[in-house]
């Protein structure tokens, strides 16, 4: 239990809770940045075969991208759309926290049922990544501000990345780089989209983008 990886994983769960309960957009972006840094540290703590250049390179790429570049992109989108800095959720904060706890219990239960073969030092990597995925999906669905939806997507990606680290023995370096690049371009594109939506509509409330029906 004293493996560093467990501390990182518990930190990831705590960041989930804070994201679900946080009401200020700036805070959400900061917490997402911390989550990105923690996820970037995971491969270095998971490495079965020991430290290698590839793992270090990948880990640092993830930390730089998710910990610094994405928050910068998102803060810029937030700053240029001068709308309210409150999250404005569909589902209230307390209910979101409770949903997060339920998702956590569901992830642990699922892990007990699925019994995935894992290649990592910790017993709780799979439940934590599943709970990250649930939280990400929840944030995409239950939040109105476009930026929080993007943060939800990032959390989902974090969860999938952690799951991949746990269950796949040897993901080709090029594929991992490709995935990382895709996520980067996705956030970049979403940032531009938010900017254009705000320029047209004067808000970034995706709930009000409801003209097309039927």
């Amino acid at each position: 239990m004293t493996a560093y990886i467990d501390i990182i994983l518990v930190g990831l769960i705590l960041s989930n809770f804070i994201l679900l309960g946080s009401s200020r957009l700036g805070n959400c972006i900061r917490i997402a940045a911390w989550q990105g840094i923690m996820v970037g540290l995971l491969p270095m703590a998971t490495a079965e075969a020991g430290f290698s250049f590839r793992i270090a390179a990948l880990g640092s790429a993830v930390i730089v991208l998710k910990g610094f570049v994405f928050p910068k992109l998102l803060s810029r989108a937030l700053r240029e759309s001068d709308t309210s800095r409150e999250v404005q959720p569909f589902i209230g904060y307390t209910a979101s926290l409770i949903a997060g706890v339920l998702a956590l219990s569901a992830s642990f239960w699922l892990d007990g049922r699925l019994n995935l073969p894992i290649h990592s030092a910790s017993a709780i990597v799979v439940p934590v990544s599943l709970s990250l995925m649930f939280t990400g999906l929840f944030l995409v669905v239950a939040r109105r501000m476009a930026i929080t939806q993007v943060i939800g997507y990032l959390v989902l990606e974090n969860g999938i990345y952690a799951l991949g680290l746990a269950i796949v023995r040897d993901l080709p370096f090029l594929v991992e780089l490709g995935v990382l690049m895709d996520v980067f371009v996705a956030v970049f594109v979403m940032g531009i989209a938010i900017y254009r939506i705000n320029r047209e509509f004067d808000h970034i409330d995706s709930h009000r983008l409801a003209k097309l029906k039927g």
Partner: protein, 494 residues
């Protein structure tokens, strides 16, 4: 370097080169002309490669990361046809917008760059043997096509773009989970290391994969790639995106983007089938998704008012039919492949005609677009004919594919599936005809102005429709062989 690898490298680099060139061209018109000519060039290269593979054996490249077999070659041909049709109509479609200045230089450059970029991304999807690389390609297509939707930043197009971007990114992320699970399922088998993502190694070792993991992976992939393909219930982005985008982009969306996502599911199907001992578990999921899509499309198509939205729901229906056919297997899989080809051709023509009608009547409300046969024989007749083709009127090709799928279902004793299928088809038929007849014949109050159609545009309408008509009556043996080898991968027979 052998011929095939030469063509492979050309195929991969050409779209990227054209994309960069379009960022530097001086006028919007030149960008669109580059779109047309560049796409035709790439399509010719694709055709050459496809011929080589279909005549011979699969082609490998890049250490086994790239592979073209019968299924990918067939899809390459369809991609080439769809993109070529779309690109050729682009200069004519945007002509009036360039003249009145609503398409300025920077938008045109962006359009050209994104057009070729999306073409390149779809090529990566079709050419890759590595499931991870295939995933990277699909995600890239989402990102690159997003801004093609909102060439003109109207509220509707921005809303459609945001919905499309978010839904498809989340869906494709789930598909990545499926890919990871598939790679993890190679645990008990002889595959090691980086080969766990290669389709060929997965296929070869399919019998020894971890059953539960590959099943879980397949479910995630159906949900994930199904979102991108527009399978119900993950289809809600589809009508918005297809209706708000300009006509050439909608043609490409309906004609190939959806097919590419289905292609990814089809790649996984034989692996799951072998791994689960051919019990039909994977097929059942596809059949269910297909039927659900057909019925959803049927319920919505009856209440449409927007002309392109109706065409979008028709795409949903056809994707459902393809999934249903692939799921049923046998002759139905062969029909599904044929359906992919005929639907793409028909839908491109339909979107092209609809786009011109919308521009002339200055509305997209179907109740106001009437009397098209009288005001413009070319576009009116083209639209009517493509609609008839799409809803499965004999003797167009789609009628025969739907019939083959129906026959397979009845022969297998799945009367429930056959009934639901037939019901969905009938509702769509009636719903579409309800609009097609007034659009063609009802005397119109407004006097629309149509620009003179160039000979190229005449060709672009007449040739695809005649091909659809001809294919319904007679299938050339070359095509039969191609479709059979493509469907063979899905467990299909003639």
């Amino acid at each position: 370097m052998s011929n095939e690898t030469l063509i492979l490298s050309v195929l991969i680099t050409l779209p990227a080169v054209f994309s960069i060139i379009s960022l530097f061209l001086p006028t919007p018109r030149s960008v669109l002309l580059l779109c047309a000519s560049g796409t035709v060039l790439v399509a010719l290269a694709m055709g050459t490669l496809a011929l080589a593979v279909l005549g011979g054996s699969p082609v490998f490249g890049s250490n086994g990361w790239l592979r073209v077999d019968a299924l990918s070659a067939f899809h390459l041909t369809v991609l080439g046809i769809v993109y070529a049709l779309g690109a050729l109509q682009t200069p004519g479609y945007f002509r009036d917008e360039i003249e009145d200045g609503s398409l300025n230089l920077s938008s045109a450059r962006r359009y050209g760059a994104l057009w070729f970029g999306s073409l390149g991304a779809m090529l990566i999807v079709l050419l890759s043997n590595n499931m991870g690389l295939m995933w990277v390609g699909i995600e890239a297509t989402t990102l690159l096509t997003a801004f093609l939707i909102c060439v003109h930043a109207t509220p509707g197009s921005l809303e459609a773009m945001w919905k499309y971007l978010l839904m498809c990114s989340v869906g494709v992320a789930l598909a990545f989970t499926g890919t990871l699970l598939a790679a993890a399922s190679t645990g008990p088998s002889a595959v090691h290391g980086t080969e766990s993502l290669l389709w060929t190694s997965l296929m070869a070792n399919a019998a020894s994969l971890d059953v539960m993991l590959i099943k879980a992976g397949f479910i995630f992939m159906v949900i994930g790639y199904g979102t991108k393909a527009g399978l119900a219930p993950m289809h809600s982005w589809l009508p918005d995106a297809h209706s708000q985008a300009p006509a050439p982009v909608s043609a490409v969306f309906s004609g190939f983007l959806l097919n590419a996502a289905l292609y990814c599911i089809f790649r996984c199907l034989p692996i799951v089938e072998t791994a689960t001992g051919n019990t039909g578990w994977g097929r059942g999921i596809l059949v269910a998704a297909g039927l659900l899509s057909i019925l959803t499309a049927a319920s919505f198509i009856a209440v449409q008012r927007d002309i392109k939205r109706m065409l979008a729901y028709s795409s949903l229906e056809h994707i459902g039919i393809i999934a249903l056919g692939a799921g049923l297997g046998g002759v139905a899989a062969f029909a599904a492949m044929f359906h992919m080809l005929s639907h793409s051709i028909g839908k491109s023509t339909a979107f092209m005609c609809a786009g011109r009608l919308m521009k002339a009547y200055k509305t997209n409300d179907m109740r106001k677009i009437t009397g098209t046969l009288a005001s413009s024989p070319l576009w009116g007749a083209g639209f009517l004919a493509s609609l008839l083709a799409l809803i499965g009127t004999a003797p167009f090709a789609i009628f025969f594919t739907e019939f083959m799928i129906l026959r397979t279902a009845v022969n297998a004793g799945d009367y429930l599936i056959a009934t639901a299928f037939l019901a969905g088809l009938s509702v769509v038929f009636i719903g579409v005809m309800r609009y097609a007849i007034p659009i063609a014949w009802k005397p119109s109050e407004s006097a629309p102005v149509f620009p003179a159609a160039s000979p190229l545009e005449y060709l672009l309408v007449i040739v695809p429709l005649s091909v659809l008509l001809a294919l319904g009556v007679w299938m050339p043996p070359f095509l039969t062989r191609t479709l059979a080898s493509a469907a063979g991968l899905l467990g299909g027979t003639m």
